[in-house]
Structures are given as C-alpha cells and as structure tokens.
Amino acid sequence: MTAALFFSQLLNGLQLGVILFLVAAGLTLVFGVMDFINLAHGVQYMLGAYLVAVLSAWSGSFAFGLAAGLLAALALGFVMEVLVFRHLTRRDHLEQVLATFGLILVVTEGVRMIFGSAPLPFPVPAALNGTVTLFEGLNYPVWRLVILAVGVAVAVLLWVLVNRTRAGMLVRAGSTHPQTVAALGVDVDRLFLFVFAFGAMLAGLAGAMAGPLVSVEPTMGDKVLILAFVVVVIGGIGSIKGAFVAAILVGLVDTVGRAFLPDLLRTLVGKSAAATAGPTLSSMLIYLLMALVLSFRPSGLFGGRPS
C-alpha cells in the first residue's frame, strides 16, 4: 500500500461522498419538511445526467448543457410536484412509497423508450479532461477534483441558505416543527414546492457530475438512491449537517473499504479465504456502519425528531 494509492482512494471516497451529499440533501429536506418518503429521487439524478448529456451534445458546449440541463431539472421538479407529489403530502407513508415507486417505473421506462437501454455517451468536458500531478507519483483526474470542488461549494452555499436566510429559517423550522410553522401562517405547501424542486435540481447536478464517470443509463439512479437512503438514515432525517457528515462517512468507508479490506483480510486470514470473503465483506461495510449507528442512535447522528 503506497501513499499515492491511499491518497487517491481517499480522494475518490470524498468525491463519492459529495455526490451522495448532493442527492441526499434534497431527500432529507423533503423527508424533514413534509415527512415525505420519495423513492423517485434517484430518477431525478438519472434525469439530470440525461438532460445535461443530451443538451451538451446538442449545443456542443458543456457549460450551456449544464446550465440548461439544471434549469430543465428544476422545471421538471416543479412539474412533478404539481402533478404527483402535492397530492401525496398528507397521505400515509405506504401510499407515498407506492406512488413514487409507480413514478419510478413510468419515468425509467419512458427514458428507456426514448433513449434505449444502452448507456448514453457522456464525455468529460474537453477543458477538464486530463490529469494533474498532485505530488510525486500521484496523477489525479481533473474532473474528479472538479466534482469535489463543486460539492464543497454547494455544501457551503446550502449552509448559508439554510442558516442565514429567511427561507432557510422556514425550512429548518419546518423540518422540526411543521405544525407550529403552519400555525404561524407560513404556507407549508408552497415551501414544500420550492424545497422539492430545489432538491430535484441538486440531484440532477449530482447526476451531471457523476455522468462522465459512471454509465448513463435508465437505472443509474437506483444504486444512488439506496446509498442516499443510508446517508439520510445515518445522518438523521431533516438534517443538512447530518447528511453532509454521513455522506462523507459513507463515501470514505465504501471506497476505502473496497480498496483495502481485501488486502487487510489477506494478511489476517490468508489468501484463499480473503478472496471469497473480501468482496462480500466490503460490499456490506456501509450497511454494517448503518446498523452500528442505529444501534446507538435510532434516529441518526443528528436526527432531532424521533420518527
């Protein structure tokens, strides 16, 4: 295990962490403000990747594609909220699960009808393609550093929005005491509309950032959705801070675990046992982490409201 390898895996873990944070942020706010379980959040991640990929290819400019794609993702968020989600906000969780599952089927199959099952080409933008030498022996892709920078910037922006603005104050209050906020004359439904659409855009941004690294295909949102659930559960529902800490934790544990656990096992239990147990155990790590956290704190690390 060289220092360069360890460092690059560390960066990969952080980068997975910020992608997860972008997805989980919208999810946790929608949970928090409206006690709403939205399975279709992964679909918004997938749509973001498709929108940006298609619009970039059509216009020939990644910058335009990103800007237009994010606006389109935001618009789609508004449309979905008006068509589907606002009718479900005061229904029980089972119906929310059911309806958003139905929505996943409709949107995923819709995308498959239009674009097919094969992955859509989504090249890294030319200006950001290439590697940079961080130190002797470690060349790291520029695009992955860009993802890190964007993720941190959005996290800071969100922190300012949530902690320093009036809208953010309403979101914070709404996620812990929704009845009180409504009783004070705040239109919680309208607040939900904006939080939902904004969350959809953040998920779309995550999809666009991850697009060049993963394959852009109709079910790409599934894997991320479940990881985002794990993040939200560990961080505590409704907490942006919790989502950030948990996302980084999950990203690091998953990436570093997959990279080094098989090696570690080999030294501990021998080669043949490690070859079978290594991949199994490393794919279980984050779920074990979740189980561990919940054993001590059933409502997550920063979850204020016991659900």
Partner: protein
C-alpha cells in the same frame, strides 16, 4: 375489521375468503390442464408463489403496520437455499423447505432486531437497505454464479421421488401452500397475538401505558412473514430452475408492496387478488410491449392518486401532521 374493508364493497367481500380464493385457483388450474395449455399452469404456479410472498407481507403491513421494503430478501434467501443445497447434492424437499423457512426467518429476525428500534420512514429505509446489502452479497458469491446467478441442480425431490416434475405439480403444491398460509395467518390475526399487533399499530402509547411492549410480537411477526417468503422463494427457484441476485432486487420488494396495497391491506386475501392483478397486467401488457412496466407504473399512480377522495384517509393524514 368491517365487512367492506378492502375496497371491493360488500358484494365482493366473499372473494377475500381463503376457501374461495383457493377454490378459484384450483378451478383455474383444472381449466388450464383440461384445455391442454402448457403455458397456463406455469402462469398459475407463478401467481400462486408470488401471492404467497405477498400474503406474508400483507400480514406485516396490514396487521403489524410494519412497512417492510425488503421483502425480496427472504424470498431470495429461500431461492438461494435451493441453489446452494443443490450444489452440495441435497434436493430432498424435506430438507429444502425447512431450510428455506429457517434461513429466511433467521435473517428477518436478525435484521428485525435493529430495524424495530426505528419507526415510520426509518423502518422503510432500513429494511430496504438491508435487503440491498443482501443483494450485493449474493452478487459477490462467485461460487454460486455471482451477478449472473446459476441454474439449480434439479427440482426438489421426496426421497428420490420427483414430485415436482411439471409446472402443474408445482402449481398444486403452491396453491396448497397458499391455502395453508392464509388459514394460519388468519387464525394468528384473530388470536390475541394479532390483536397485540393491531393495537401496537394503532396506538403504541396506549399499549405502553398498559405496561405492554409489542416488540417480541413484532419480531415474531417479522420472522414468520420472512419464513413464509422463504418458502415462496424455494418454490420460485424450483419453478424457474434458476437463481440469481435479481430475485432480491429492490424492485421485487416494490412489486410485492404494490400487490399488497392494490388488493387492500385490511384482509390477507387482498394480497392474493393484488398478485393476480399484477400478473394479469404483466401477461396482457407484456405481450404488446417490452415496456409493460410503464403501464404498471401508470396503474399504480392512478390507483393511489384517485383514492384521494377517501375522507377517512384525509382526516387521518391531517391528524398525523
């Protein structure tokens, strides 16, 4: 439970009785065999197997209020029990069915101990996450086909007797298992055990104030439902003769919830009707287009959104906040 609890109205309530459901299944199978169709018994066997898994989930959701989004996990465990035992040369049904039941029940109880510490949305997400963990673990079992899965060695035997040779045999067996399950779970629901589960669902504070803790009851319910899903998994593996991680994909958990809710959660028989409905949508739309899930999605969305006129639902929702 009121007479017209589950959607259909009083006139159709008889449809939810186990005896009627099983009689209808048997009738369908008899017609299928008589008509000489080779495909119909396969469909009927599949429907009965999925209905078995859906009924066990309906027991959790309808009685205990535990919305498990990971019911594909015990189903998959049952299927993998067949595959793994078969690889070691064991095909005796007297081993496979208890093994599938026990392994799935054990998984459900072990994850349940952690999941039951939480409520509501957390419970849904944790059961989903645990099932997904098992999905990835199954994909990493390279000795048993990894991501692609593996064909099973042979269908289950009874001391060398191949009693599940055709899908008609399998359908008979699955329908019988469904009937026994419906009867047992209905008895269990009517017993003090079921009352405890329903009270825990309706008003946990009141139970606590009486000094009662439904934890053990819920854990037993989870284990029992998991075990039944394991039996369904054993049957499913025998029907498809192939086992892969796809059995545990979270979409399977979602589809099981769809069956339970479309049929109505108040009666166990509803899940059977839901399973039939999903299979019918699959078989009819599936013949026209490979995108049949688009249609299924629209049906689900329509069913949930149009039920908004239900007043009791609205009142209960606002009371919840």
């Amino acid at each position: 439970m009121s007479a017209r609890a589950a959607g259909g109205g009083a006139g159709f309530a008889f449809l939810f009785r186990p005896a009627v459901l099983i009689a209808l299944f048997a009738l369908a199978l008899a017609v299928a065999v008589w008509s000489g169709s080779g495909y119909a018994p396969t469909i009927i066997a599949r429907t009965a197997i999925l209905a078995l898994a859906a009924v066990s989930l309906s027991f959790l959701i309808g009685q205990a209020g535990l919305v498990s989004f990971g019911h594909a996990a015990p189903l998959g465990i049952g299927a993998y029990a067949v595959l793994i035992a078969g690889e070691y040369g064991v095909t005796n049904a007297l081993v496979l069915f208890p093994l599938g039941f026990a392994a799935a029940a054990l998984w459900s109880a072990a994850t349940g101990v952690i999941a039951l510490r939480t409520r509501g949305v957390y419970f849904i997400m944790i059961t989903l996450a645990f099932a997904q963990m098992l999905f990835y673990v199954a994909g990493s079992l390279s000795a048993f086909g990894g991501d692609d899965g593996l064909g099973i060695a042979a269908r289950a035997t009874f001391f060398g007797q191949r009693f599940l040779r055709t899908d008609t045999d399998l359908a008979v067996f699955a329908i019988a298992a469904l009937g026994v399950t419906l009867l047992v779970l209905e008895r269990l629901s009517a017993a003090p055990f079921g009352l405890m589960l329903r009270t825990g669902r309706a008003n946990e504070e009141k139970l606590a104030s009486l000094g009662l803790d439904p934890f053990v009851h819920r854990l037993v319910a989870l284990a029992a439902a998991g075990g039944i899903a394991g039996i369904a998994g054993v049957l499913l593996a025998n029907q498809v003769e192939y086992v892969s991680p796809a059995t545990m994909n979270w979409h399977v958990s979602g589809e099981l919830i769809v069956m339970v809710v479309l049929g109505g959660t108040k009666r166990l028989g509803g899940a059977v009707l839901g399973a039939v409905a999903v299979m019918v949508i699959d078989e009819t739309l599936g013949h026209f287009t490979e995108f049949w899930k688009f249609g299924l999605g629209l049906v689900i969305l329509g069913a949930v959104l149009l039920r908004g006129a239900d007043l009791t639902q609205l009142i209960r929702g606002t009371a919840h906040g």
